[in-house]
Structure formats: C-alpha cells, structure tokens
Amino acid sequence: MAAARADTLQPVELADGVEIQLRVAGPAVRSMAYTIDLLVRLGIYLVVWIAAIFLVLPGLGMELTAGLMLLFMFFMEWFYNVIFEAGARGATPGQRSMKLRVMSMTGGPVTLAQAVMRNFLRVVDFMPALYLTGIICMLFTKRFQRLGDLVANTVVTYADPPPAPVAVTEIRAERRAPAQVLTREEQAALLQFIERAPLWADERRIELAAVAEPLTQAPGVEGLRRLCGMALWLQEPEEKRGTPPPLKGAPLFRS
C-alpha cells in the first residue's frame, strides 16, 4: 500500500546516497507558463516588426528587412528558452510568473548543455503537431517530463518554498512536554496543528484533539488545551518567551 501512495513530491536519490524531494510541476501549470511565454514572444515580434518598419525598412529595403526579421525570429524561437533557463533564475518569464523553474534531476540548476538539449528537442515534443507528444508524455511520466526533459535529465519544479502560514495568533496554553516519546512524523503533525489551528473552527479543533486523546489523556477542551501546550513545547521547549498565563474563561485562541 505504501508503495502506491500518490504524491506530488518525487524522491530522487543522489549519487552520494542523499535523497531529495522534487516538487515537480505538471502539464496544467506548465501549459499556462508556455502560453505566457508564447504571448511574450508574440509581443516582442509585434514590437520589433513595428520598429523595423519605421527604422530599418526605409534604409535597407523590404527584402533585407524581412530577412533580418526572419533571422531574429529564428533566434528567438530556438534560444529564448535556452537563454532564460540556463540563466541565473533557471526560468523563462512565463515559468517565473507561474513560480516554476527548470532543474536538473539532481536538484541543481540546469547546465547550458541541458537547456540546449531540452529545448532543441521541443521539435520532437511538438510532433505530430501542437505538442501532442509532449502533452501525452508529460501526463504519463512520473515526474511530468516531456521527451526533452527525459533526454536532458531535467524536471520543471515549483520555485517558491512551500507556503508557510503566518501565525500571529496568541495561544493561551501552558507549555508541557508530551507525556510520551513522539516520532518525527507525530511531532510534525503537532506543529502543523498548532500552526493551522487558528484557521479552523472551534468544533474542528476539539474534534482533532479528541482523535489525539491517547496522547492528551483528557477529553474535550481540556484535551485541546493539553495538545496546544505540547505543540507549543515542541515549538520552543525552553521558556524563552513569557507565555501569557492561561486565564480562566479566556479564549484559547486570540488573534
């Protein structure tokens, strides 16, 4: 059962035995990024065409201007992605706006060679027309790779760190060490609980605290209070900050 659990994090084992998790991005968000890039390129062509008509055409004539424009478009079509992806941010403007970036499978930035390979192979992914091969390939590979990615050993991942909820809520509970030794997953769950609890309704909080009753050994609000105390203790075991003392009748959560 464990082997078949679906997840968006894809583990990759590096050569030195370290396992990293890649937040790979799928076809939907990548198609959005591609559309934005396409619009950016079309916009650039439009601007350059108009500029050429007024600045270059009178001097060089129609044929030479058209030739220069075709050359310019050729370089844009082939190297727009390469230059941006091999650059410092590892993302085209479209990918950046969707908060994506291209990465090597090892989690490092792509090299110029990888960027060239994955983008020149767009021709193959485009086949038979309109990226049909690329779309199908992305839908059916584990890390959402199109053929160019598979060959260049790259992935497109989310660039920004996972969202960290801002907790400005004051929690009136007394710090207390958990009554039993907790595993890392359980500690993480407790921390998640204390970070996200302010977003939930009171009933839901008590419901969740009731699930954790074997740990708190208390039902209802008292269980919730103990659970919050343990989570606070995990956040900061030493009493560095003075915790507001639990007031009788005062709400447990106060923004």
Binding site: M1, A2, A3, A4, R5, A6, D7, T8, L9, E13, R23, V24, A25, G26, P27, A28, V29, S31, M32, T35, M98, M127, P128, A129, L130, Y131, L132, I135, I136, L139, F140, K142, F144, Y158, P162, P163, Q180, L182, T183, E185, E186, A188, A189, Q192, F193, R196, A197, L199, W200, R204, L208, V211, A212, E213, P214, L215
Partner: protein, 478 residues
C-alpha cells in the same frame, strides 16, 4: 471514510500542486479508468453517432455538451481508490445508472457552463447534497479554491483543444484525398456542405472522442484533488490522519503489552507473523524504483544499400590498388635512400684518424708511433746522430720503431697494437726473414735493455746495429 487508509499523500498544497496530485492519481490507475470509461461512455457515444449519423458535424458539440456525465464514473472510482478501497468493475457498473441520473438536468443545463465544473463535481456527487445546500457548499469551498478551479478548467480545455487540433493536424496527411476538404472551394464559396466531405467530419469527431477520453479523466482527477486539497486545508485532514496513526500507535503499544501478559504463547505466534511480514516488506522495498535494474542497450545503425543501386556507383577498387602500390613504392624508396645515405656517410661510424690504409697495419704499437711519416727518411743516420748527441734511448727508439714499421708495412708481419715486445719478436721470428729476424732479436734485446732496464748499451753494439740495419730498399724494391 477511513482517513488511515488513504492512498494519497495529503498535505496543504498550492492549487497547482493539487492539480498535479490529481494527475498522479489518474496516472496510477489510468488503465482501469480507461476500461471503465470505455464501458460507460463509449455506448453513449455510439448512440449519439447513430442518432446524428446524417449530421456528423454536430457530434463533437454533443459529445462536448455531455461531458459532465463522463467524469462521474471515474470520480466514483478515484474517490474510493483514494481512501484505499478500489471498487471492482461489477460494483462500479452497478453504481453507474445512479451516478449518471443524479443531478442529471442541472449538470447538463444551468451548471454546464460553470467554470469550476470539475472542482464542484466532488462536492455535488460525493457529499450527497442537493439543491441550495449543494450550492452553498460549493460556494464555501470555492472561496478557497474557486479561482484555482477555473484556472484548472482553462488549462485543461486548452490542453484538450490543442491536443485535438494537434491530432487532426498530425494525421491530416494520412487521410485519403477523398476525405480531405477542398480548402480553395471553402474559402471562395464558403460552401461548407459541398466542400467538406462527411468522412472528414466523422474523422474529426473521432479525434475529438479520442482526445476527450485521454484528457477528461485527468481533468476530473485534478478537480477531485483540488477538492481534497481544499478540505485538507480547511479541515486539516493531514493532521487528523497523523493523529489517528499516533493514536493507533500509542493505544496499540498498550494492547500488545496486555496481550503479552495474557497469553504465554503469544510471543512465538507474533514472531512467526513477523517473519511473514518481513518477506512482504522485502518485496515492497524491492519494488522501489531505486532497486530497478537498468540496462543499456546500444544499437548500431548500419545503413543498408540495395543491391540494384550499386552498379550506378563507379567502381573505385583500383584506387585501393594504386594506394597499395604507392605505399610499397614509398617503403622501398625509403629503404634505398637509407642504404645510400649510410654508405655515403659511413665515416660517421668509423674512428677518426684511421685512414684507408693499404694494409691493416697498426700505426701505434706499445705506445710507439711506427708510421713511416713520423720517422726520419734516413733512420740509421738519425739514430747515429742521436747516439753521438748522447740521447741513447732516442737512438735505439728510432731503430726499433723503424724496424717495426718496416716489418709491419713491408713484410706484413701480423702484429697488432696490443702486442708486447716479446709478442712482436715471436711474430717476427715466425714470419720474417732469417737475417731480419736475428737482427730484430738483437735490436729488441738492446731496446728492452735501455728502455725498461735502463742499462747502458755499448757503443760497439750500437755500431753493429747501425751497420747491420737490414731494413733498406734493395735493388728493384727501391
């Protein structure tokens, strides 16, 4: 619903990541989903095709319009598979009529144009709400994920459209000419009925169905995952799941402890079970991609030429023959040149100062220069003069050298430069004339006496040596 059995890793994700999760879920079960799809949707399409057989241009529109129905069976499967209970085919087929008939009209009429169709579908189908309650519920959920829901619809309709056009464009050239539209006529007269053949329309409809079958399950799965993500964020499903596991562990530990006290034989049974589990665990671990055995197969492409094509290519074998001949010519030339060079420069290999002597006579014996040039013309006179001057050693040296020189050059006595006086005498006695030999014997005695023993030689002896000097040109020899 048992959260513990979830086969999906839940955590609060960003909307697009949730969409990716949906894609991953669908990909995992795509085979089964496609089978369910084929068994439920294809009959409907067949019916549509039969009904619209005289107007195939309307088929894609109807197929598109009926889309809300298609996703219901896959959603039924996905929602159960996500919670660890994969429904069998029979079970799914039994649920099929109920799934399609519930919410039938709203879904196909006023909700058809909802931008959050796939996101709202789980709320409508799985939560069992009806009417205004369902609307409220969808609205509540959409507060958090509605924007992403419509982005999702946009992204997938774009993918679907692009894939459809791509498939038609990519296979256009494969169509028989009778099935290809007359584009010129279409542009000029805009006469759709006569310029676009029915075959083209049928084929376009078929392409549309193929693409919908491919993309729609992913769209439905993505909407479901977005819905899951929404509820995970709102209700903390991932936290609940972790808490449930913790509760099981904490209370389970206590239960085991009690069991150990209760049954004495419990331990053995537990161990046996553990052994079985270990084999299972090993199998599961080995399923991991990290243990996959990769093989690299290298295939070499050898271009094949057809035999009939070969005669057109001029025969170039003679070039090889010429090349070989040239090669050997160069080698022979090199060897000849080397020989000539060595012959011309052979003095490089010979010690300097040794001229082409007419005889191989040594020039130096026992450190004494015996070449004719180093000696005076009249050796006897020179010796007498040296003797008169009191230089006895020089006088005898002259005589001795002169005699050796004569013997070596004229008589060809085989004396080598390493021979001693004794050796020389032996050689001379063997090879030389009697008079010369006896004279040489006397001379050697005198020379050894003065040169090594440093004993005086009498004037008489010297006189007799000079008088008897035999090594002169005689008669015809002069």
């Amino acid at each position: 619903m048992r959260l513990e059995d979830m086969t999906v890793v839940l955590r609060p994700r960003q909307p697009w990541e949730a969409v990716d999760l949906g894609c991953a879920m669908v990909r995992r079960d795509f085979g089964r989903l496609l089978l369910l799809w084929a068994s439920t949707v294809f009959p409907l399409w067949a019916a549509v095709c039969v009904l619209l057989r005289s107007a195939p241009e309307w088929i894609p529109l109807v197929v598109w319009w009926l889309k809300p129905l298609y996703g219901r069976v896959p959603l039924y499967f996905l929602s159960r598979a996500a919670f660890g209970v994969r429904p069998g085919f029979v079970e799914t087929w039994k649920a099929w009529p109920r799934l399609w008939l519930s919410n039938f009209l709203p879904a196909l009429l006023w909700r058809r144009f909802s931008f959050i169709r796939s996101f709202a579908m789980p709320a409508q189908m799985l939560e069992g709400l009806r009417g205004s309650a369902a609307n409220r519920r969808v609205k509540t959920l959409a507060m958090d994920g509605g924007g992403s829901g419509s982005s999702l619809s946009y992204a997938f309709s774009k993918i679907e459209l692009v894939a459809w056009l791509g498939l038609m464009w990519g296979t256009y050239e494969l169509l028989p000419e009778s099935a290809q539209p007359d584009w010129n006529g279409l542009y000029q007269a805009f006469d759709i009925e006569n310029t676009i053949p029915d075959a083209f329309l049928w084929w376009g409809a078929a392409c549309h169905m193929i693409v919908v079958s491919l993309v729609e399950p992913f769209y439905v799965g993505a909407g479901f995952a977005l819905y899951l993500n929404c509820r995970t964020r709102i209700e903390g499903w991932d936290v609940e799941l972790a808490f449930r596991r913790m509760a099981t562990r904490l209370s389970g530990a206590a239960a085991v402890l009690i069991a150990c006290f209760a049954f004495s034989g419990g331990q053995a049974i537990a161990q046996e079970a553990e052994g079985k589990d270990a084999a299972k665990v090993v199998k599961e671990v080995l399923k991991d991609p990290a243990f996959e055995v990769h093989k690299i197969k290298t295939k070499e492409w050898v271009p094949e030429f057809d035999a009939p094509d070969l005669p057109t290519v001029p025969k170039l074998d003679f070039l090889g023959v010429i090349g070989e001949v040239l090669f050997w010519l160069v080698i022979v030339g090199l060897v000849v040149w080397l020989v000539i060079y060595l012959v011309n420069n052979r003095q490089m290999f010979v010690t300097r100062g040794v001229s082409k002597a007419p005889v191989r006579a040594p020039k130096v014996i026992m450190g004494l220069n015996i070449t004719r040039e180093s000696l005076p013309d009249d050796i006897v006179a020179a010796a007498r003069a040296a003797w008169a001057a009191g230089d006895f050693k020089e006088a005898l040296s002259l005589l001795y050298r002169g005699s050796l020189s004569w013997l070596v050059t004229r008589r060809h006595v085989p004396i080598s430069d390493s021979d001693t006086e004794e050796d020389c005498l032996v050689h001379v006695l063997k090879a030389g004339e009697k008079t010369e030999a006896s004279y040489f014997k006397q001379l050697t005695g005198a020379w050894v006496q003065i040169a090594y023993a440093v004993l005086p030689v009498s004037d008489e002896e010297m006189k007799s040596l000079c008088d008897q000097w035999p090594f002169v040109e005689k008669g015809g020899e002069a």
